[in-house]
Each structure stands twice: as structure tokens, then as C-alpha cells.
Symmetry: C2
Subunit: 341 residues, 2 copies
């Protein structure tokens, strides 16, 4: 199935660009409920997998041993701005586990939060791995490795127990065989996991409504989802969709973006999982789609939709701060009653 | 006609993202020679129109009056990095015409060249319109306005003679009626021009081989194209495709990128014009397509293609500087013998 038109980008009255892609809406029994484009499209989950990647952090007992609160767990699921609230907490986690910023193997990129970047430059300080948007996830991986008395210098490699536990958890939650999961390397050096879009949606459905999971797994996924919803500022940060969406959803849903234009949502109230992939990989397309899916599924009130309007219909501004265009979702979800197994 | 698959983005062995779009290859007699996707797709030329927008700068005599050399003219066609070589020259132009940075109406964005940005921060200096990638074009517009004794505070408005002369030049070169040109507002506040992709390619074909143009227009477009090819470092800057492509092409072709993933090339030797639009607006898709079109049309030697390999098949690196993926062009141009009028 071809990608569906998802978002139109208008400049003035003329259509300037188009984002196409795929959507799968799945319930926790593994039924594909709605779709657009190809709901079985193979996708790398990228950072949308972070909440699932946090499962071993809970299940090994590492989170409890090192006194992780909701904000700590949420930060392990984050692609954060590197605001002080994020970097201070990463430092706190590293300190608790007896490690240091130099143990983070995620590599470096400039901090997303411009004030932090400018402060580093003004003070002549280096951009370290601390400021990488994935430093929370890497701290979480190190926490598990420390707790399990495993080596900490190679935790990012696929054959390390940290990554093998994660692979096991993903395969089990998705009910998708490990050997079929396509492995690539993420922007931060750890394995990324390729699977059909509906399987990714199914992971989120089962985190939202842990059906058929062991008691231990049920506790773990509930704790992770609750942590994200209780500390949404940790998952992204100021002016970030993940954070603002979870604030507006007020405990009914959790969501996480992934690079190359992936977005996933789990809705606690209905047990529905949503996975979105904009095929061109441009993240600007995912937010209008995510809000529109929530609207079409009646998962948010009109008031909540109004609060998310800036993400639903983003305005394009130019360097003179004039509004010169707009993004608009243009798809209609199709019903699709079938089991995804 | 639907957009064609143009570029595949692989991470490891798996296809992660796809860029679709449209290509038109036109000769200077107005024949559509080759196509992919929809060669009549309506597109905003964005900054790809800058070389055409420079025509009145030459034809009014403003460039000669203010002693513009090739580098000055090339800078008026640029989306520059805001390296010192660019900003110093903008200051020189403004000084020659008796105006100042505050007269640039392009608005501000952070300088593209990171060293310049960091220097501004370290020295506590403000980001002004000087550093806008369009400040060269705006200096050129101001130059024409000054030379013609026109107002300089509203040169960016559609009804100002500066913009009306530009509109006239575009319409005439494209042989596309003014009233059919779709007007939007660019990132820097001036009008942008929407027209079918093949008309945009035709503009470049006629600049490459000025067929059926007045002597005055012929002189102007030849001077602009030569200026870009003689001073390619002004058109983009260090590590920029426009600059590196024109260096490698060694005077046989000129090219200019436009925002939202437009790219146009004029080939002097054959009089061919090429216009590319990646439909999703992601600029990373245009460079592999541009080089691949040049390859399929046999406009570059194997040695030249080898020099442009990094743009033809861009490697994706992660924050650890590991190569984790690659972009590859995947289209085949189709023959299309028909007149575009």
C-alpha cells in the first residue's frame, strides 16, 4: 500500500509541500482498528521505543535500588532539550550509580535548548554527552548495567546484556520474533529496532492496557507510562510536543516522538495504541498528524484540542515574524477490523 | 501525475525514509526533454529564483554604477553561510550605496556558519539582518532602489518598483503571464513566485543559452550566470552544494538551491535547464537528485561525479561519528518530447 497524504504545507494560498506516510491504530488485543497508508510499513521506532527500552530498568530492580522517582524514569524515556532540569537530573542519576558524564557513550550534539548552548559558548565550556538529547536513556542503561554488575564501557553494543534485555522486552511486548526485528544503529550509537508499524502501535496499546502480560511486566509498563504522564517536562521540555501533549491529556495518554518522523501514543482510557510514520522523515509532519488522529478517534475534548491547536495547525513564520503559511492534516483514518498477528 | 520516488534513506540495511518529488528538464527552445513525477507541478521557486531576481540589478545600470564585480553579483544571488567573506561584502555593498544594515528588511535568523554564530555570542553582539542568508539579495534590491531614486524602506513589498521589475523579468523569462504567477511571502519577507516546474526549468535554460532574448537581457543573464560560476564561494559558502557543484563544473553549469527542497541548474554547454522539487520540502533530498540528473544526462565526467560523491550518496553519521546510513537517488528520468508552451 502506498503512503497516504497526511499533511499539506501551504504558503499563502498555494500548496508548497506535502507529507505522506502511514498510520496504524491498534487495540491491546492486537486488532488493527484504523489505518492510513500502509499500517504494516516496516519502520525503525527510533526514540519512540524509549519507553519500552526502560522496561529492564524497572524489572531488574535497578530503578528501585537507585531510588528512581517518576521524573528519573521519565528522563530515561526522553529526547530532552538539555535544559538545566534535564542535565541536572542526568548528573544526579550518574552520581547515584557512581559513574560520570564520560561514561555516557551517546556522543555529542549541540544542546537543543538555545540558552544552554549559548551559555556553554559564553563560558567556554565544551559540549559533552550530557547535553545529548538521549543522555537520560543512556543513564538508564548504565544504571541497569551497574545494578547487574555488568561492564559499563560497552553497554551500547547489541551483544551486551543491557541491549539483549531490551531486545527481549521489545520482542515480547510486540509479539514479534527477535530474529525478525531489523537492527540498525541510532543517532546515539545504540541499536534501533525495525518492525511493522502496527506492531509498534501494539507495543503502545499493551503499555496503555497491559493485557496478557506477567504481573512483573504489567507493573513495569504501568510505572513507565505513569512516570511519563506525571513528569512530562522530563520527556521533552519547554515548547516540546511530547511534554505539552501529555500535560493537556492529563493522565489519559502518553506519547513519544522518534527521529525520522515517528510518533507513538498509548491511550490509557481505551487501551488504544497509535503509531505514525511520515515517510520522508521530516518531524514537522508528525505533530499535526498525531493531534488529528486523537481528534478523529474522539480521544480528546474540544477544549484539549484547542490547547493543542498550535501543534494541530502549525503556523509558518518568516524571519520578519510574519505568518506566511500553515501546516494542515488532510487524511481520514479508514476502518480496518483485523487481527495483526 | 503523482510524485516519483527520488531518494531512498537507508539506515543499516533497512529503508527508513523516502523522498518523492518532481523533475523537469527543458531546453532553451522550450521543449520538455525529460521528466520524473509531474513536470508541471506548481512550485514556489523560493531562493532558486535569486539569479533571475538579479536581472533588474544589471539592466537598470545599478550594478555598473556601484562598481559591482562578479563576487558582488554572485552574492546578490546567494543563500550564504554568513561567513566573514559574505558579511564583509554585504557591508561593502551597503557602504557603496550609502545605506546601512538597518536598511535590510530581511529579518534575522542565526548565522548558518557556526563559528560566526559562536563568535557573536562570545562577544555579546546581536544577530542582525546582516547574517540572514538572504542579506546579499536584499543588498542588491536596495542597490537598484537607490540607483532608481526609489524609496528604500518598503522595497520588499510587491507593489514597490523593485519587486515589480523582478516580477516582469520572471514572467518574461519564463514566458508565463504575470497574473498566473502565484505570489507568496518568502522567509525573508519578499514576494516568492509560484509557477509550473517546467517553466522554472525554462528560466534556467534561457539563462544558460539566452535564446530569443533582447541584447540587453542576453547581456544581463550571461553576466549573472558567469558571476555565479566565477565566484561560487559567494553563492553558498564552505561545504555548501551550490558552491562545490559550481567549482567542480568549472564554468559549464550554474545552480541554486531554494527552500522547501527546490534545486535548479542551467547548463551552459547544452542550454539545458533543470528544475527539481522534493515534494516534502526536505532539502537533504535535492542534492542526490541534482547530481543524479547531471549523471543521467551525461553533463558531468566520471571524475566530476567522483568529486561530488558526498552529495550524490550522502552518508548518515550519528553523534558518535559512526556511519549508520546513506541516501541514494533511485529514479530514472523519462523521455518527454513536447513543447511546454
Amino acid at each position: 500500500m502506498e503512503a497516504a497524504q497526511l499533511v499539506h504545507v501551504h504558503r499563502g494560498k498555494m500548496l508548497e509541500s506535502v507529507h505522506k506516510g502511514h498510520i496504524a491504530v491498534v487495540d491491546s488485543d492486537g486488532n488493527l482498528l484504523y489505518q492510513a497508508g500502509n499500517p504494516q510499513q516496516m519502520v525503525y521506532a527510533r526514540s519512540s521505543m524509549k519507553p519500552v527500552q526502560a522496561i529492564p530498568l524497572i524489572e531488574t530492580g535497578a530503578a528501585d535500588f537507585y531510588h528512581f522517582d517518576d521524573a528519573d524514569i521519565a528522563l530515561c524515556c526522553a529526547s530532552h532539550n538539555a535544559e538545566k532540569q534535564h542535565t541536572n537530573r542526568v548528573l544526579s542519576i550518574l552520581s547515584r550509580i557512581g559513574l560520570d558524564v564520560k561514561d555516557l557513550q551517546c556522543g555529542t550534539h549541540n544542546p537543543r535548548w538555545e540558552e544552554v548552548y549559548e551559555e556553554l559558548i559564553r563560558e567556554g565550556k565544551p559540549v559533552t554527552a550530557l547535553f545529548n538529547n538521549c543522555s537520560g536513556k543512556h543513564s538508564g542503561m548504565l544504571t541497569t548495567a551497574q545494578h547487574m554488575n555488568e561492564t559499563v564501557d560497552d553497554y551500547y553494543k547489541l551483544d551486551h546484556p543491557v541491549q539483549q534485555r531490551i531486545l527481549e522486552a521489545i520482542s515480547s511486548l510486540a509479539e514479534f520474533p527477535k530474529e525478525k526485528i531489523e537492527i540498525g544503529i541510532d543517532g546515539c550509537g545504540v541499536p534501533v529496532h525495525g518492525m511493522p508499524l502496527d506492531k509498534l502501535a501494539y507495543c503502545y496499546a499493551r503499555m496503555a492496557n497491559p493485557t496478557g502480560l506477567s504481573n512483573e511486566r504489567t507493573t513495569a509498563v504501568k510505572r513507565i507510562a505513569q512516570a511519563m504522564m506525571n513528569a512530562p517536562e522530563m520527556v521533552g521540555g519547554t515548547n516540546r510536543f511530547c511534554t505539552d501533549f501529555m500535560r493537556v491529556a492529563q493522565g489519559r495518554a502518553f506519547g513519544k516522538a522518534g527521529a525520522e518522523a515517528v510518533y507513538c501514543i498509548g491511550d490509557i482510557e481505551t487501551g488504544i495504541g497509535i503509531a505514525i510514520k511520515v515517510e520522508d522523515g521530516n518531524g514537522r509532519g508528525t505533530e499535526p498528524v498525531a493531534v488529528e488522529v486523537l481528534k478523529q478517534l474522539n480521544l480528546l475534548t474540544d477544549e484539549q484540542l484547542e490547547q493543542l491547536k498550535g501543534y494541530h495547525y502549525p503556523q509558518l513564520k518568516n524571519c520578519r515574524q510574519e505568518t506566511i503559511g500553515q501546516l494542515s492534516p488532510v487524511f481520514q483514518l479508514e476502518s480496518a477490523k483485523k487481527h495483526i498477528q
